[in-house]
């Protein structure tokens, strides 16, 4: 067991040596992997910042449900109770006709007009706050459904642009998954091809090693380590690219935010995403190496 570990450690270090021995090619491969992984990571940051931005307008997602004039308070209360149990809804506030009138009166201006009325012309109103993560489509469905009820006069869902932003974020999120999938696939291919060339270049060594009794595992190992290192360093390179991009954009974004009187700051990659980038790179590197090794090593048989 200890011997096995030592051998792995030696192999691991030796494979670094081999990669460092050809800095040009290694750097190029690592850079290509890094850029491939930085792309989905960058998009991820874009979406996270978009979410942060959209989250600031949570109240804009609130919508008002105007009940029919003359609707019973008990019925209004019943509707509140019902809506509070809907999964997409976080809270419902009932603004009774009286409260609305009082507020209107307190705000001044209409005092004379309002006093002349013998009946309160205002309806009861519900202010519905949906949960933050609820997609706009659900809100619209909910609003439409509510609008059809007899007790409801009108629903004002004034969230068009938030809906659009959310739809866009949604699309981008999906796009990221797609891009991430494609680009990780690209990394597998890149590493696979690099390892294939490595195997081709070391054909003579592999043949001799097999003649001298090397097992498949022995011959395979350095190439798998190479794939591992390509992936790992490529992932770290991607993080560096992302960090560099954020550093470049951070200043201008803060200035822009200040000009608009906001306090928005760019959100970076969180720990999980960073780990995903490095881990994804590492796994893709290993997978690429594995594919190359599986396809090309067995074909090399010593000839005498």
């Amino acid at each position: 067991m200890r011997q096995w570990l030592t051998r792995h450690a030696q192999n691991c270090v030796a494979s670094v040596g081999r990669l460092v021995a050809h800095p040009g090619g290694t750097l190029l491969t690592v850079a290509v992997i890094g850029v491939s992984l930085a792309l989905p990571a960058g998009l991820n940051i874009l979406v996270r910042n978009g979410e942060a931005l959209a989250g600031g307008w949570e109240s804009v997602r609130d919508f008002s449900v105007y009940l029919q004039p003359g609707a019973e308070l008990a019925n209004a209360q019943a509707l509140v109770n019902e809506l509070e149990n809907v999964v997409d809804i976080q809270s419902v506030e009932l603004v009774t006709a009286d409260a609305a009138l009082k507020e209107l009166r307190d705000s001044g201006g209409f005092a004379g007009v309002l006093d002349g009325l013998e009946k309160n012309p205002l309806p009861h109103t519900l202010v519905v706050r949906p949960k933050a993560e609820v997609p706009a489509a659900n809100l619209e469905r909910l609003a439409a459904e509510l609008g059809k009820r007899d007790i409801v006069d009108q629903v004002r869902l004034d969230t068009d642009w938030v809906a659009r932003l959310n739809a866009l974020l949604d699309l981008t999120r999906r796009g990221i998954w797609l891009a991430a999938g494609l680009l990780v696939g690209a990394v597998v291919v890149i590493v696979g091809n690099t390892i294939r060339l490595d195997i081709e270049n070391q054909r003579a060594e592999i043949e001799v090693a097999k003649l001298l009794g090397a097992t498949d595992a022995f011959v395979r190992r350095p190439f798998l380590y190479a794939g591992f290192w390509y992936g790992l360093v490529g992932g770290l390179f991607a993080l560096a690219v992302v960090a560099g991009g954020l550093a470049l954009l951070g200043g201008p974004v803060a200035r822009l935010s200040m000009l608009y009187g906001g306090s928005f700051r760019l959100v970076g990659l969180d720990g999980t995403s960073s780990l995903a980038v490095v881990g994804g790179g590492l796994l893709a590197g290993l997978a690429g190496a594995w594919v190359a090794v599986a396809r090309h090593l067995a074909a090399i048989q010593p000839k005498v």
């Binding site: 011997q3 009794g213 090397a214 005498v304």
Partner: protein, 220 residues
């Protein structure tokens, strides 16, 4: 140590490399395999190293029918014998030391032990001090001796060599043969293919003559 029982090797394409060969090599023997070009010398050695498998018959090494060994058992079998090749098959990018240490690295030997063994093997072939040289900076005879050092570094009980002196002038050939004789004297069983009959007259040893894939003479 080695026994061939009615061994036939038919290559794809229908050519017989060996036909019904019977041969026995005792432990500790030094046996020379001779015969015309195409007689089947290389084929016989390839069967022992499991580079090829017999079509019919049994090849026994240390009492084991190696023709039946599964593919995953081949590496272990190859590690148990030493091989010397006519073109020596050294890795040009690696130093003499690295080349000779390769079998030990493959066997997973600790590094310190490797260094000791490699030097001992190089000493046996008179190349101590050339450890850090690259093969191309050595003479042909020296390269062949590095190949021999690599073949014996893991101290195999059996060494097979395919025309180890094929590229060498008579003086160098004799030098190589002397190395083989010395190794044989410390107990290594040897099977050496060569068509250098003049050399064999100088060296002596048992001979097996192949012709058209059959044992045709010698003390087979």
């Amino acid at each position: 140590m080695i026994r061939f029982d009615n061994v036939t090797k038919r290559y794809a394409g229908g050519r017989d490399g060996l036909s019904e060969v019977n041969l026995e090599v005792e432990a500790g023997e030094l046996v020379f395999l001779t015969g015309h070009s195409g007689a089947g010398k290389t084929t016989l050695l390839k069967l022992i190293a499991l580079i090829e498998r017999p079509t019919r018959g049994q090849v026994l090494v240390d009492g084991r029918n190696i023709g039946r060994l599964p593919a995953r058992a081949i590496p272990k079998h190859r590690r148990s014998l030493g091989m010397v090749f006519q073109d020596h098959k050294l890795l040009p990018e690696r130093t003499v030391f690295e080349n000779v240490s390769l079998p030990l690295i493959i066997a997973g030997m600790p590094r310190r032990e490797i260094a000791r063994r490699v030097r001992a093997a190089l000493d046996q072939v008179g190349l101590l001090g050339r450890e850090s040289a690259k093969p191309e900076s050595l003479s042909t005879g020296e390269q062949q001796r590095v190949g021999i050092a690599r073949a014996v570094v893991s101290r195999p009980g059996l060494l097979i060599a395919d025309e180890p002196t094929g590229n060498l002038d008579p003086a160098l050939s004799l030098e190589i043969m002397t190395v083989f004789k010395r190794l044989n004297q410390v107990g290594v069983t040897m099977l050496i293919a060569t068509h250098d009959l003049a050399l064999l007259d100088l060296v002596g040893g048992r001979r097996v003559v192949l012709a058209d894939g059959r044992v045709s003479g010698g003390s087979g």
